[in-house]
């Protein structure tokens, strides 16, 4: 397991806690619900074996799609074992998203998005669980699928100047989950410091070809040639982030704390402050891309194409 995955394991306590609370709120568990939970946890296989990665995602993605499509169309109870299946999956949805975030160690963007999605899934499960015990897994699934709709309504209320008290993501027990979520965020930050895996960081626009002749099968170099080969700088790969990355880490932690403090003092300015910060940082990125390069004296051009210069000694 590489370091990015290892750091993101900090996401599991928050997701596990939310799923545990969700499971406690569901009434009788059947075989179908257990299978649904198993489908949500199946992507764990992909963490162990890359060749089974895609296979592990198919059942969970199918159940998630069925849940949101069916519950988006109708609010009637879903009959039969399907209700149990999607109910079990809904309970374990935070773990499903957390495993997805842990598995996406080669794409930092996807990892960040999935990390936040897993935290939101945990919040949704906790919101449903805090509303009271669900009669069955199917009922839990229906309530879970309604959370985004209720949250959107609450957001619309806030944006039009109303109160945000009805937002389902705010109706959760604060302390345990928030602490675990902050731990997960810290794990996500540390995970971003981990280096890319076996990719080709030296790909700089040329087509890279493997040597046609395997080493050791053809050698006719004289002593001079061998000594020249020995002059080569050893090929090495970065093993850790630059020490200066600690500055970015501190800045990120400060921004997160600032956001939390701002939310506690004046929540109304939170969205505006976040938007300002985002715009300022995007502008900084664009400005740094446009930095002028230092002009330099051009070297004397050599013949670029065509045959060798005539008359040059052999």
């Amino acid at each position: 397991m590489n370091r990015a995955r290892f750091a993101l394991l900090a996401l599991l306590p928050a997701a596990g806690y939310a799923s545990y609370e969700g499971a406690r709120s569901v009434g009788p568990w059947g075989l179908a619900a257990a299978i649904g939970v198993g489908a949500a946890l199946l992507p764990l296989l992909g963490l162990a074996r890359d060749d089974l990665d895609v296979l592990g995602w198919i059942p969970g993605l199918f159940l998630g799609t069925v849940l949101f499509v069916l519950c988006g169309v109708t609010v009637s109870p879903i009959p039969g074992p399907l209700a149990g299946l999607i109910g079990g999956w809904a309970v374990a949805a935070p773990l499903f998203a957390a495993i997805a975030a842990i598995g996406s160690d080669r794409a930092p963007g996807r990892r960040v998005f999935l990390l936040v999605l897993a935290l939101l899934a945990g919040l949704a499960v906790l919101a449903v669980a805090s509303a009271g015990p669900a009669g069955s897994p199917g009922t839990f699934a229906q309530a879970f699928a309604q959370v985004p709709k209720r949250q959107a309504l609450a957001l619309a209320t806030v944006l039009t100047g109303g109160s945000s008290l009805s937002a389902p993501f705010l109706a959760v027990p604060v302390l345990p989950y928030d602490a675990l979520a902050l731990l997960a965020g810290a794990g996500g930050l540390v995970g971003l410091l981990a280096l890319p895996g076996e990719g080709e960081p030296e790909a700089i626009g040329h087509d890279l070809r493997r040597p046609d002749v395997p080493e050791g099968t053809y050698r006719s170099l004289l002593v001079e040639g061998r000594s020249r080969l020995a002059e080569a700088t050893p090929n090495e790969r970065p093993t850790s982030a630059e020490p200066a990355a600690i500055v970015s880490l501190f800045a990120a932690a400060l921004a997160a704390l600032g956001s939390l403090l701002g939310a506690s003092f004046d929540p109304d300015w939170l969205i505006a402050g976040t938007a300002t910060l985002v715009i300022a940082l995007l502008a900084a990125i664009l400005l740094s891309l446009k930095l002028p390069r230092r002009p330099g004296a051009r070297q004397r051009p050599r013949p670029a194409t065509g045959a060798a210069p005539a008359g040059e000694p052999l």
Binding site: V116, L117, V158, A167, E202, I204, H206, S259, I271, L281
Partner: protein, 439 residues
């Protein structure tokens, strides 16, 4: 520039922020904000640190490489990169190697952390396997962000190097590994230096630059004077003639009939150069004479000229016509010449007899080296085409027998060679007029 990974990270962080805002949950929003701030500052910091690097910050210099590379040799190439930035950097250095140069040792790229004022050395070995003109380079340099979010690509000027791959026998006369394999004892040939010839050839009118010691006093009547001319056995004139018609392209790349003929012609040139006094020229033929390098004393520059031309020889459309070629050569060659013709002789032979007679009357001698095309056809990878290939080989053998029969009946020395090359037959043929084994 920001890499695809970097853009993906920014997009993912923005989406996460959007989710955080929509959730109206301060903790989730704080987490998303922290992640976005980290990514944004990392990307900006990298560009602030290295974005200002200009052409004067890196100096790429190639290892000296000969302008003419011997085919099928193994050479070490490399680039030294001096880095004059302000902060240590991870630098990737890459060189573009033509496909005709299989790399034998090490990939032509490297990555290392370089301190300001430090040097990154790239070394690799390659094998120039096909004749022709190529360009090594350009060199690519990239400053890498260890996290893979950003990258700065620099193109150092003057990082290309033109190289011509010439037959090995042409390059490095003091080495010539190809010839070293053929010792005089091994082949039973002898290449004696006889000095000036003594065999009388003819009389010709006196010219002001003639040595008076050669004056034929008994034959001269004032005001008409004659000088005696002698056969100069040690100052031979040799012309290598290459047939460029499509049939010479039979065989695999680098091992075709034309490639083997070029190798043999270069061995011939090297042999002539070793004599020191003989003259060597080159002609290529398709419909008619396409290229004609007049025979000159086989010095260093002549070899360079021959090597450059032999490097670029390639099949051309056209039909080979031996009698027409002999007529054209007769008009162009001013002194008796040994003509070494490498050709499949696939064209019409009409009018061969009178052409050969007139060619000989001028004192020229013709030797032909004919590739056995049936031996150049590559074996098919599947068994389905075997029957057709056998039939084609049989037809080709029959044609070759007829061609050799026709040319030999005219008294022309004709020898066949296969995909292993014509060096041996050319060595024997060259030794023959100098007292070695008969051709």
């Amino acid at each position: 520039m920001i890499t695809r990974r970097g853009w993906g990270a920014i997009l993912g962080a923005l989406l996460a922020l959007l989710l955080g805002v929509a959730a109206l949950n301060p903790v989730v929003l704080a987490v998303a904000t922290g992640l976005f701030v980290f990514l944004a500052i990392e990307i900006s910091r990298f560009h602030v640190a290295y974005g200002g690097l200009g052409d004067d910050s890196i100096h790429a210099e190639r290892l000296p490489l000969p302008a003419r590379l011997p085919a099928n040799s193994e050479l070490v190439a490399g680039v030294d990169l001096r880095y004059d930035g302000r902060a240590p950097a991870w630098i990737a250095l890459s060189d573009v190697v033509p496909e005709a140069f299989p790399v034998t040792v090490g990939p032509p790229r490297t990555v290392a952390r370089v301190e300001p004022g430090g040097t990154l050395r790239l070394r690799y070995a390659f094998r120039p396997s096909l004749r022709g003109a190529y360009v090594l380079g350009p060199v690519g340099v990239a400053i890498l962000d260890p996290l893979g979010l950003s990258r700065i690509v620099l193109r150092p000027p003057a990082s290309r190097r033109a190289a011509t791959v010439v037959p090995a026998a042409i390059v490095a006369p003091h080495v010539r590994p190809g010839l070293a394999l053929f010792s005089r004892e091994a082949l039973g040939i002898d290449l004696p230096r006889r000095g000036y010839g003594t065999e009388f050839r003819s009389l010709r009118p006196y010219q002001p630059f003639d040595d008076v010691r050669h004056m034929a006093w008994k034959r001269s009547r004032p005001p008409t004077y004659f000088v005696r001319e002698f056969e100069q056995e040690s100052r031979q004139t040799v012309l290598a003639v290459l047939d460029l018609t499509p049939s010479m392209g039979a065989g695999l790349a680098g091992e075709s009939a034309l490639d083997r003929s070029v190798e043999a012609a270069s061995v011939l040139a090297a042999l002539v150069a070793r004599q020191g006094e003989d003259r060597i020229g080159l002609a290529t033929v398709s419909d008619g004479i396409f290229q004609f390098l007049e025979p000159r004393r086989a010095g260093e520059l002549t070899l360079v000229r021959l090597g450059d031309n032999l490097a670029m020889v390639a099949p051309r459309p056209g039909e080979f016509h031996l009698p027409k070629l002999l007529d054209e050569l007769r008009e162009r060659l001013t002194s008796p010449t040994h003509v070494y013709l490498f050709s499949t002789l696939t064209g019409p032979m009409t009018g061969l007899h009178p052409a050969v007679v007139q060619f000989r009357r001028k004192g020229h001698r013709l030797r032909t080296f004919v590739p056995r095309l049936s031996a150049f056809y590559p074996e098919p990878e599947e068994t389905t085409g075997l029957a057709a290939l056998d039939w084609a080989r049989a037809q080709e053998r029959r044609r070759l027998d007829w061609t050799l029969h026709v040319t030999r009946s005219e008294g022309i020395v004709a020898q066949a060679f296969d995909r292993r090359g014509a060096n041996g037959v050319v060595l024997r043929a060259y030794g023959a007029p100098r007292g070695g084994l008969g051709a």
